[in-house]
Symmetry: C2
Subunit: 386 residues, 2 copies
Amino acid sequence: MIYLDHAATTPVDERVLEAMLPYFREQYGNPSSIHARGREAAKALRQARATVADILNCTPKEIIFTSCATESNNLALRGIAFAQRARGRGRHLVVSAVEHKAVLVTAKGLRDHYGFDLSIVPVDEYGRVSADDVAAALREDTILVSVMYANNEVGTVQPIAEIAALCRERGIPFHTDAVQAANYFSLDVEALGVDALSLSAHKFYGPKGVGVLYLRSGTPLWPQMTGGGQEHKRRAGTENVAGIVGLARALEIAQSTREEESARVRALRDRLIEGVLARVSDVYLTGHPTERLPNHASFVIRGLEIQGVLMGLDMAGVAASSGSACTSAAQEPSHVLTAMGIPHLDAVGHLRLTLGRETGAEEVARAVEALATVVARMEREGMRGG
Amino acid sequence: MIYLDHAATTPVDERVLEAMLPYFREQYGNPSSIHARGREAAKALRQARATVADILNCTPKEIIFTSCATESNNLALRGIAFAQRARGRGRHLVVSAVEHKAVLVTAKGLRDHYGFDLSIVPVDEYGRVSADDVAAALREDTILVSVMYANNEVGTVQPIAEIAALCRERGIPFHTDAVQAANYFSLDVEALGVDALSLSAHKFYGPKGVGVLYLRSGTPLWPQMTGGGQEHKRRAGTENVAGIVGLARALEIAQSTREEESARVRALRDRLIEGVLARVSDVYLTGHPTERLPNHASFVIRGLEIQGVLMGLDMAGVAASSGSACTSAAQEPSHVLTAMGIPHLDAVGHLRLTLGRETGAEEVARAVEALATVVARMEREGMRGG
C-alpha cells in the first residue's frame, strides 16, 4: 500500500511505541499518587514536559497536555475568550476563513451561543491570509486572534510571525493551530512570537489521543475541563502518561530531523506535482505554489467527482484523500476551497496527496501512474463532465 | 511491591495492550478517511462501540468516547446544563456533597461563572446520599441531577437506581459518575435507569487517556469540544482508536469477571479491615460498613499525619493513599470527609487501601503487618498526638 494521507494521520514510530510501553505495564502509576509508582509516573511526565518545552523554547509550565489538537484549539479559543471577557477586555475574536473546523466551528459557536463578536479574515486565491487584512480586522475590543500555521487541505503556509508581531504590538493574544507544521517547520514560540500554539501527536508519528497547548505565561485562560489540579489547574483529568511520553519522543524525532526530511519530501512532492500536471488533463494545483508544506500536494481535477477517483486509487493500493479527513463524510463543499474562490463544480474534484517518512521515489512514481490510469478509465467510462 | 491504590489507577491488562498494539502499528488509519486504512480504523471503532453498548445495554449511538472520566463528567454537566437552559427548561442543578471534583468543581463553576443555580445534597456519616434528600432538593426548574455510583475516597455506594427513578418521574436527566463501579457492579443503564454515565478505562485495567460518556437518546447536549463531526457531532477530534479498542477490551474483561472478582476481593478486603482494626490502635473505618465497594478499605488513624504513614508504607513496599489521588497534593481537608462530619483533626489521618486483581491473601497480610509496624514506630518516635 502507498499511503499518501499523512495530513490525516501518521503511523506511530517504533521508537515512540517503545518509549510508551513501560507506562502501560510496570510504570502504570497515577502521577498524582505520592508512592513510588506515582512518583515514577510524575517523573516521566516532568521529563516529557521538559522535552516539549525545550523544543518550543518555552518553560515547562507553559505546556498544557491535552487529548488532541481539537481540544487544544477549543481550550485556546474558549479559554482565552471567556477569561478576557471576564476581565472586561472586550468580546471580539478574529480568525481566518481557512482554519480547521476545530477553530472555525468553535469561534462561530462563541459568536452564536455565548455572545462574542467574530471577524473572519478572507484569504487570496492561494489560501493565504495577509497580515494587512488581519490588521484591518482588529478593533479596540479584540481579545484573541487565531490563524493556523499551515493549512491541512491545500498546504498553504501562513505568515504567522508577521501576524503575531502586529498582535503583540496591540497586546492581543495570538493563537496558531500548528498541527500540520510540526514535522517540517520550527516551533520556536519566541521566534514566531505566538502566545498559544496547538499540536497533535498523531500528525508527527506519535499516538492518537494526545496533544499540546502551549500557552504563554500571563495569557489569561479559563479551563474547559475542571476537577483535579492537573496541568497547573488548566486541564483536569488523570494524565495520559504513556501518550504524553510518546508525544514528547515523537516531537523530538520529528523536530530533530525536520530540515533533512523537509528537503527530502519537498523534492518528492515537486516530482509528484509535475507528474500529475503532466499525466492528467485539465488539472491544476491548489494552495500556494511555493509557500506550502513540503509534503503537501493538492489539486483540482476538473469535471470529476473525486469520490470515484479516491475509490479507484484505493483499489490500486494508493491511500489518498480530499480536503480534510475530518470532514470527508460531509457533503458540503470544503470551506477552505470556497474561501479561495474555487467554484463548487471544481471543489468536488479536489484531491489531496500528502507524503511522509515512508514515501520514496518509487511510491511517488507509482501513485502518479495509478492516478493517471484511474482518471483515464473514468474518462473512457464517460464519468468526466465538461 | 504491594500496590493497594487501585482506586487511583490500575495497570493495563496484557490482553488489553495486545488488542491495542495493531492500532499503533499497521492499522494506524484515521477513522474519517475513506481509504482502506481509514476503513479498518472505522471498523475497529464500530466494534468497540458495539461492545461497550452491549455491556451497558444501550445502543451504539448512545456511547460517546472521550479522553477520560473528567471529560465525560464535564461534558455531561456543562453539555446538559447549557442545552437544557437554551430550551428554557430552567437553570437549577443538583449534585451530592461527595462527588469527585470533576463533578463538584464543574457544578460550582456553572454556578459561579455561567449563571446556574446549584443545590448540594448532604450525606450521612457513612457518606451516603438519601433519595429523600435528593427529592427535597428538586425544583420546578431543576434540569440535571448528578450523583456518583460509588465514592472514590471512602468507598460508599449510592442508591443510584432509587435516585434515577425519582428523577425519571419528574423528567429530569440523571447522570452518574460510575468510575469506581466498573470492576464490580452492573453498568446496565436500563436496570439503573440513568440517563448519563461516566467511565474511565484506566480504572478497570485499560489505558489512561480514554473514557466513555453514555448519554440516553433524546437527552439534550451541547458539545464541549467542537470541530469535526466525530462521535455523532457530540465530541470533535480524531478518535483515539488504540485507546478506544483497549477500553472496550478492558471493560469486557472487567464486566465478565465482576461477580467472581467482587466476591474474591470482598473477602480479602474484610480480612484487611479486620487486621487493621485489630493491629492499629485508635482507628476506625470510614465509609459505609456494608454498602461499599468490594475492593475498598478506608480508615481514620487518629492523631497521626497520614503523610508520614504513607511514606513509611512506601518504604516498606506498600503503595497506599489518602482521599482522592487527584487531590493528594492539596493541603485542604477532603471535601468528602468534611461532608461526612469527620473533624479536620481526624481527616488528616485518613488512609485508603484499595485492592485489585494482583492482590492476594499474602499481600493483605503483609500490608497489615507493614501498617502496624509503621504506626508503632511513629508512636515510639512521639509522632502520634492525643
